[in-house]
Amino acid sequence: MSFMGKGKKAVAAVSEDSLYADRVRVYPKSVHGPVRRFKWAVLIFCLTLYYVLPWVRWNRGIGRPNQAVLLDIFHERFWFFNLEFWPQDIFYLTGLLIMGAISLFLVTSLFGRLWCGYACPQTVWTDLFMWVEREIEGDRNERMKRDSMPVNFDKVWRKGLKHAVWFAVAFWTGGAWIMYYVDAPTVTVEFWKGTASSEVYLFTALFTAATYLLAGWAREQVCTYMCPWPRFQAAMLDEQSFTVTYQAWRGEPRAQGKRVSGAGGDCVDCGACVTACPTGIDIRDGIQLECINCGLCIDACNHVMEKTGRPGWLITWDTLADQAAKATGIHVPFRVFRPRTIIYLSALGLAAVVMIVALMLRPGLGLSVQRDRAPLFVMLASGDIRDGYTVKIVNKSSTQAIFEISTQGMHGATLTETNEELGPAETLGLPVAGDSVGTFRIMVTGQPAALVDGSQPIDFSLRDTATGELTVYHSVFMGPVRRR
């Protein structure tokens, strides 16, 4: 990708014998324009969602939390509006993460790193922190000038105020994080009264510190050095990806600020794109690891193009294929459907269908049967064979319910429950308290006539006597292998 002209990089002017680079501070200059406005809109949306969501209430009836989104780790429940997830439903989260990953691949192959430039929390909070910095310390030139001055009153109060505001925002962020795990109004009151649990204070402090350090200090270093995504996102990009691009065929050779119409390219080499960049790179070097595809350089360049009377969008969104074609005077349309995107789309569609079907078929009745491993079976004095099973029944209703359990597949099998001392009978009624899992020890006794050598299948069927709902669990019954 280095067919573009070589620009002056703001990063790392490194002495050739050093293994370590000092950080080159990035002083992004503020820009105005459609891209910046869109980025603000996404930022406001994301932040509002993050800060407000824990406060949204959702009525679920008495004895249940009324917070719309609550990941209640202590009670092992995840509440999401009218959905209720138990720990055993964790694979839905896996499905969601898989869908998230494939979506990221798809979006990246189509439009480059939109996630990095607009929606990633690191980008959103860094942008917010930069805005705070700009409001207090001024724009790029003013900040650079002040940083090079010796310590004075103006510098101290502005820096102090900036860090205080940063810290406040970070604290608000860390505090809001906690509210996704415990009831928001309750924990807010408890927090200030000093009665909240030590975990609440610990995690608030942790996320406050993380926000302050990552968004205030580390910034683009998180993307460049810490984050694994930029390292392999190149595998999703190809010459058909619609990304932030410097139109070298139009811009080169650079006019070095001289207003020469006719001769030379449109690029006046003013460096506006470089000073606007939040990661401190030169987009004219082409797509590179550090570029988060935010497009702020587009706004910066358009401004200059307008002032110098040249056509805008010298830096624009385009594909490398189109750029190569445009250099020779033709136009290649953007191809949304290519093998890569079709594969991502199909995978995404498949994952979505599986998730939706699984969610719709999610049984209200949960039954799990675990056969004893030791002993595999017991021979009784009568010659009957008995196997032990641990049976767990999930009652997701809020009141106690009776569940009828029986077995199929083995003639004359009788069931005994040893904890509650029920049976022996062919069908047992097991009581389970509301909103809980009942655990039972069920002994199944088989008559020798009904047995085959070794193992044989046996089905446990469970019926909710209140709703009539039925579920079946396939298990096996073990017996001796007879010598003949």
Partner: protein
């Protein structure tokens, strides 16, 4: 050794000097704060080595300035847990089995304590889950020699079987063959009769009627008229499909000739009363409890 450190024309940066099949690697510097972090980690490690046990010696090791010893930490943890459990274990010791079963929480503690104690002490002979082994009763099966109520089990565990204790369960089967109490033909006949009590592999022999007479005179006192067993004296139930020392004719003859008689230790020497009660509750719950 790097030999060809040179300037890369495209990027203007130096290479590391290593070359693999014509591929060269740029010497890209990492941020300096990584260096500081690494240095801080080294300092941390040094401090750790001074404070904690770290260096091995020939006969011992360097103990560290603060004298940390992992076994102490384990002991402290165990003591803490024991103290936490003391209340529940005292209650298990003091209450009757019936009262323990009325308290679901206490019962859960007892079953857990019993399960762990069983796994540590009883499992080697009686098998995981009380499945039994040849010569060692299958506790889950419920074919008891000395009774399967909670109290029976508690007593057996406490004093053992043929353990030499005064209160131990004691039974002694005569060596009918080795001591020549019965003639070989009589022994064969008894084995014929005993074989009729359940389906022995290899048939029931030639003379069960004579065997029945000999059995009534010599064996029925302990094993019962019909081989139903006698728990008062620990007489095994013979009219059953499972037997402690084997189910076939050879095992029957061996047991009449020169009986094996197992020993179970008196666990009151190793376990406290609360743990023995817990074990009784656990064993009782395995499926054989009465």
């Amino acid at each position: 050794m790097p030999t060809k450190i040179e300037k890369d024309d495209v990027t203007g940066q130096m290479t590391t000097g290593h070359e693999w099949d014509g591929l060269q690697e740029l010497n890209r510097p990492v941020p300096r704060w990584w260096l500081y972090t690494w240095a801080a980690c080294c300092v941390w490690a040094l401090i750790w080595c001074v404070l904690y046990p770290s260096l091995p010696g020939i006969t011992g090791y360097y103990h560290g300035l603060i004298g940390y010893y992992q076994r102490d930490a384990v002991d402290a943890d165990v003591a803490k847990v024991t103290a936490q459990r003391a209340g529940a274990m005292d209650k298990i010791k003091a209450l009757s089995f019936a009262d323990i079963r009325k308290d679901p929480q206490l019962l859960a503690v007892a079953e857990t304590a019993g399960r762990i104690t069983f796994a540590e002490n009883c499992q080697p002979c009686h098998g995981a889950g009380g499945g039994g082994n040849p010569g060692y009763p299958a506790l889950a099966a419920g074919n008891w020699l000395w009774g399967g109520t909670l109290e029976d089990i508690q007593r057996t565990v406490t004093f053992g079987i043929r353990s030499g204790q005064d209160d131990a369960r004691n039974s002694q089967m005569p060596r009918f063959g080795a001591d020549a109490i019965l003639k070989p033909a009589e022994i064969q006949a008894v084995a014929d009769y005993v074989s009729t009590l359940w389906g022995v592999p290899g048939g029931t022999g030639t003379n069960p009627a004579e065997g029945k007479r000999v059995f009534a005179e010599n064996c029925a006192v302990c094993h019962g008229e019909t081989g139903q067993g006698n728990r008062e004296v620990g007489g095994a139930k013979l009219a059953a499909h499972t037997h402690l020392h084997g189910d076939d004719r050879a095992a029957i003859l061996a047991q009449i000739n020169n009986p094996k008689m197992g020993v179970m230790p008196n666990w009151n020497a190793r376990l406290d009363a609360a743990k023995i009660k817990s074990v009784a509750i656990y064993v009782h719950s395995l499926g054989g409890g009465e």
